[in-house]
């Protein structure tokens, strides 16, 4: 059975950015249905669908919503994470550009379910055009009674704002984002308390990724059972956007049932670039461990990737062919994390810096035999010791370099790079 796109079904359709066009394409049925249900029933439906967060951690969305305390009179908030800062990720952008009403609908359903009357969409600063599109779409939604004091005639009040970030990876981390939203330096907070209890402005807050929320209207409209029928198993359900970049002929954002394989993705992308062979791939963005080509038939879902020692993350799939120098690629990633650590935790601030310097030294032909062990040790001291997951993210590629590609690092160290294969180009030219 051919898979009909769900999240991307409106891509390219004229007029869908407006409420009228979106309705014509079948939109706002999910919200309408939700408003006719008890909020708790909406949460139950989302729970039953098995929808897991698409922002990186894969936390069950319905469960997260159910953590919002009931019957306390503090305002509640939804903050939609549109920071999309994980390198290699460009799916939320498509969703916002192409089908902003879908996101507004998803946000509105979530707000109804958790009794939030305010929603912020925190969008990365570089997404200027996307922010404008969203604002336009929100204006139109207000004009058509989707937002405002009386959402679709239900009496439910909902305001929605677009908040633009100022350019920091760490503001994609949910509590760093809340700090930034509140006007402070983007630095993750201590957890607990979790945002569901103390979030934006000290109030209970749901934080969900754009793609997560875009799934919600479909779950409501077509039911949890339909949703669950898509995907690999009970724990990995629904459609998924994969952002394929790197050495393929046609990089792009592709929608598949969750659990597509690397090989299927490469086929969809018109094969490897210039017919080269696959050497390795990053399945889930800069934070994920790099996997060697032998995993190309692994279903790319949350659990299978975790089992393989990597993660689905944001499903930013970065493909590296046989000419890629993994050490250089990892150095580029280490440089990214060093640049983006917020700097409050000692292990992250110093570990991301140190690891970049070690790799730089190796690439300058000055590596020592103990360096692979040193990298592992830095990883050990950085991993699991910090406030937020950025340090763990930085560990992902570093550790996989030593564990999955020992010969690459050994070649640099033994021969100062001289013995390593000639390279047509370096990964960093591709991985910007």
């Amino acid at each position: 059975m051919a898979f009909e796109p769900v999240l991307l079904r409106n891509v390219g359709k004229p007029g869908v950015r407006q409420v009228a066009g979106y309705r014509e394409a079948g939109g706002y049925k999910g919200l309408e249905k939700a408003l006719g249900m008890e909020p708790d029933a909406v949460i139950e439906e989302v729970k039953a669908s098995g929808l897991r967060g698409r922002g990186g951690a894969g936390f069950p969305a319905g469960l997260k919503w159910s953590f919002i305390p009931k019957g306390n009179d503090k305002p509640k908030y939804l903050v939609c994470n549109a920071d999309e800062s994980e390198p290699g990720t460009f799916k939320d952008r498509i969703l916002m550009e192409q089908d902003p009403q879908q996101l507004i609908e998803g946000c509105a359903i979530c707000c109804w379910a958790v009794s939030a009357n305010t929603c912020y969409i925190y969008i990365r600063g570089e997404y200027v055009e996307q922010a404008e599109i969203l604002e336009e779409a929100i204006r139109d939604a207000y004009a058509n009674g989707i937002l405002g004091d009386d959402v679709m005639g239900s009496g439910f009040k909902l305001d929605m704002y677009v908040h633009r970030g100022a350019g920091a990876y760490i503001c994609g981390e949910e509590t760093g984002m809340l700090e930034s939203l509140e006007g402070r330096r983007g630095q993750p907070r201590i957890k607990p308390p979790f945002p569901a209890v103390v979030g934006a402005f000290g109030c209970p807050t749901v934080i969900n990724n754009v793609e997560t929320l875009c799934n919600v209207p479909h779950i409501l409209e077509r039911g949890a059972d339909w949703y669950k029928s898509i995907g690999t198993d009970e724990r990995n359900t629904g459609p998924k956007l994969y952002c394929v970049s790197g050495h393929v002929e046609k990089p792009g954002t592709y929608e598949f049932p969750i659990g597509v394989t690397m090989n299927q993705l490469i086929d969809t992308c018109g094969g490897m670039w210039r017919g080269a062979k696959l050497k390795a791939f990053i399945p889930g963005g800069a934070s994920a461990a790099i996997l060697p080509a032998k995993h190309a038939d692994l279903p790319l879902d949350f659990d299978q990737l975790a089992k393989a020692g990597s993660m689905l993350g944001s499903a930013a799939v970065i493909v590296m062919d046989e000419n890629t120098d993994i050490v250089r690629a990892v150095h580029r990633l280490a440089k990214f994390f060093n640049h983006e650590s917020c700097g409050q935790c000692t292990p992250c601030r110093e570990g991301t810096n140190w690891s970049e310097l070690v790799l730089k030294k190796i690439l300058a032909g000055k590596g020592n035999p103990g360096d692979a062990e040193l990298i592992l040790r830095i990883c050990r001291n950085m991993g699991g010791t910090t406030l937020c997951a950025l340090a763990d993210a930085a560990v992902g590629p570093l550790r996989s370099l030593v564990q999955n590609f020992p010969e690459e690092i050994a070649a640099w160290i033994d021969n100062g790079g001289a013995g390593a294969e000639p390279r047509r180009y370096f990964a960093e030219e591709v991985l910007v």
Binding site: Q187, E340, C342, Q344, T346, E350, T352, L357, T385
Partner: protein, 549 residues
């Protein structure tokens, strides 16, 4: 109260106590840098990682609160040691490690912990250390200098200015390994409490402009004392080298100054360096002072009192720099002379506020003990001349004898008009440690100890009686005032001869209902709040209603 088990030791703590404080109770120190008991908890340095049974990962002790019974914590285990070593290594890779030329050496959190929790070799051999060129000697304000190369980004200083001084001059700039501490554009770290950031900086990144590189700390002798800058009475440690004070540091007293003191107070020991010290007693003959022995000088004063005719007017003027015990002896002298003329010279000054957990404490007098001196009896009797009549009126011109005691240069006695008025007394006796305009014109000069050289008590602006002790002995030729006064009084009433400060206090406590039951040696470390207001008359404001909410 819930019970928590830390390395096998059970301890009961109040709900919400964090693990660093809980461990302190059983004598276990969990290493930490960013945590400070009075600052918000940020969990940033990651030095305090401990193993808690249950969660798979190590947890930060500072952010973990004991909420209910049954938490089991392990600190002395290899997993935790490894984590501590890891954090230490991260902190040291970019640290200059030039302890021999660093001002913090000897009192550095990095030195202390790397000795205990670090490893003895540096792995960071080839990579270059991160430095902040041009940021090694940045004056942040009048009192504090920053060397960014030594900073471990614990943010204690930032949080101090946000949460304690409430002035918010400092912030984090840049991010990651380039993170810097600095003042916000257009600001200066110039709040009245600014130098406290030097004390709470765990490393040598923030140094005091006054003290910087003046002394190696291990040469300093540290003695508990009390600041004399105002009537808050901040508890301090006087750090001196052979009797020369090099700096004051705040000494913890939760009832008074908590962990802090003001910048002004820190500088008050300078008066001991700047002013000329009186070295020997002097007696004036025909308007010219000549050195005299203590015996002769005391004798001269004794005779003036004991031989005064019935009609003579004798006056006794103290200052807020006297200890309560000294004031008490002077009051007894006045009693012996049956004189109602007594008072305490004191002065209102700028209000100095020190934050504490009771809503802060504010003093606005320029001396530490006006209240104690008045409590001890230096208050004019019926029809007597008080401080105002003597200093601002022509009271002194009616006096045959005037004793002015502790003419500390910080007291309001040295205004030339005041000096001229006091000089109108027929015989002027001045006790004090420094040469002042008043000692210059005195008939008898008695050189006495500074507050750092004597024992005694002060009563602060909230009527808290606090004891302090001599940090070092006074120089040859100089006597503590209690000794001199007991000598003088002993010549009138033998049973006062040779009394120590403690004995004087105990007699005073027997006399004064406010002090009933107290003894000098058993005064509590944080002082006692006196029940009845110490101030019988005179200026100053009683403690605000909500001083102890």
């Amino acid at each position: 109260m819930p019970t928590v088990t830390i390395d096998g030791r059970e301890v009961e703590v109040e709900v919400g106590t964090n693990l660093i404080e809980a461990a302190k109770k059983v004598g276990i120190q969990i290493p930490h840098y960013c945590y400070h008991p009075r600052l918000s908890i940020v969990g940033q340095c990651r030095m305090c990682l401990v193993k808690i049974e249950g969660p798979p990962k190590l947890q930060t002790a500072c952010t973990t609160q004991v909420m209910k019974d049954g938490m089991v914590v392990h600190i002395d285990i290899p997993e935790v040691h490894k984590a501590q070593e890891g954090v230490m290594e991260f902190l040291l890779i970019n640290h200059p490690l030039d302890c021999p030329i660093c001002d913090q050496a000897g009192e550095c959190g990095l030195q202390d912990y790397s000795f205990k929790h670090g490893q003895a070799f540096s792995r960071f051999v080839f990579e270059e250390k991160r430095t902040y060129p041009g940021r090694e000697r940045i004056p942040l304000g009048p009192s504090v200098v920053l060397n960014m190369n030594r900073c471990i980004q614990c943010t204690r200083c930032i949080r101090f200015t946000e949460e304690i001084s409430g002035t918010g001059e400092l912030g984090f700039f840049e991010r990651g390994a380039r993170t810097e501490i600095g003042v916000f554009p257009g600001k200066e770290l110039d709040n009245p409490l600014s130098a406290n950031v030097v004390d709470i900086c765990p490393v040598g990144a923030l140094t005091s402009r006054e003290f910087r590189f003046a002394e190696r700390v291990w040469y300093l002798d540290k003695k508990p004392s009390i600041c004399t800058g105002c009537d808050v009475g901040c508890n301090v440690t006087a750090e001196h080298r052979r009797g020369a004070i090099k700096r004051y540091k705040p000494r913890f007293n939760p009832e008074v100054n908590d962990y802090w003191m003001c910048d002004y107070g820190r500088g008050t020991f300078r008066r001991y360096e700047e002013l000329e010290r009186l070295g020997t007693p002097a007696i004036a003959e025909n308007g010219e002072q000549r050195p005299a022995t203590w015996n002769d000088a005391i004798d001269r004063v004794h005779q003036s009192i004991s031989q005064a005719p019935e009609s003579a007017e004798l006056a006794f003027l103290g200052t807020g720099f006297l200890t309560t015990e000294e004031a008490f002896l002077i009051a007894r002298l006045a009693d012996a002379a049956a004189s109602p003329h007594r008072g305490v010279a004191s002065e209102e000054g700028p209000t100095r506020t020190i934050p504490n957990l009771h809503g802060g404490i504010s003093g606005s007098e320029t001396s530490p003990n006006r209240r104690g001196a008045e409590l001890a009896g230096l208050v004019a009797g019926d029809g007597g001349l008080g401080a105002a009549e003597l200093m601002q009126g022509d009271g002194a011109s009616r006096c045959d004898f005037l004793l002015v005691a502790d003419g500390d240069p910080g007291s309001p006695l040295h205004d030339s008009e005041v000096v001229a008025r006091l000089r109108q007394a027929r015989l002027l006796v001045v006790m004090g440690w420094a040469s002042t305009p008043l000692t210059e014109v005195a008939d008898v000069v008695l050189p006495t100890a500074t507050h750092a050289e004597k024992d005694g008590t002060f009563v602060n602006c909230e009527s808290r009686l606090q004891r302090f002790r001599a940090a070092f002995p006074s120089p040859a030729g100089v006597r503590p005032a209690v000794e001199a006064l007991a000598d003088l009084l002993g010549r009138l009433h033998p049973d006062w001869r040779g009394l120590s400060t403690a004995q004087v206090f105990d007699r005073m406590a027997a006399d004064l209902p406010t002090l009933a039951g107290l003894t000098f040696e058993e005064l509590p470390a944080h002082g006692v709040e006196l029940q009845a207001p110490a101030a019988v008359v005179g200026g100053g404001t009683p403690p605000a209603e909500d001083a102890h909410p």
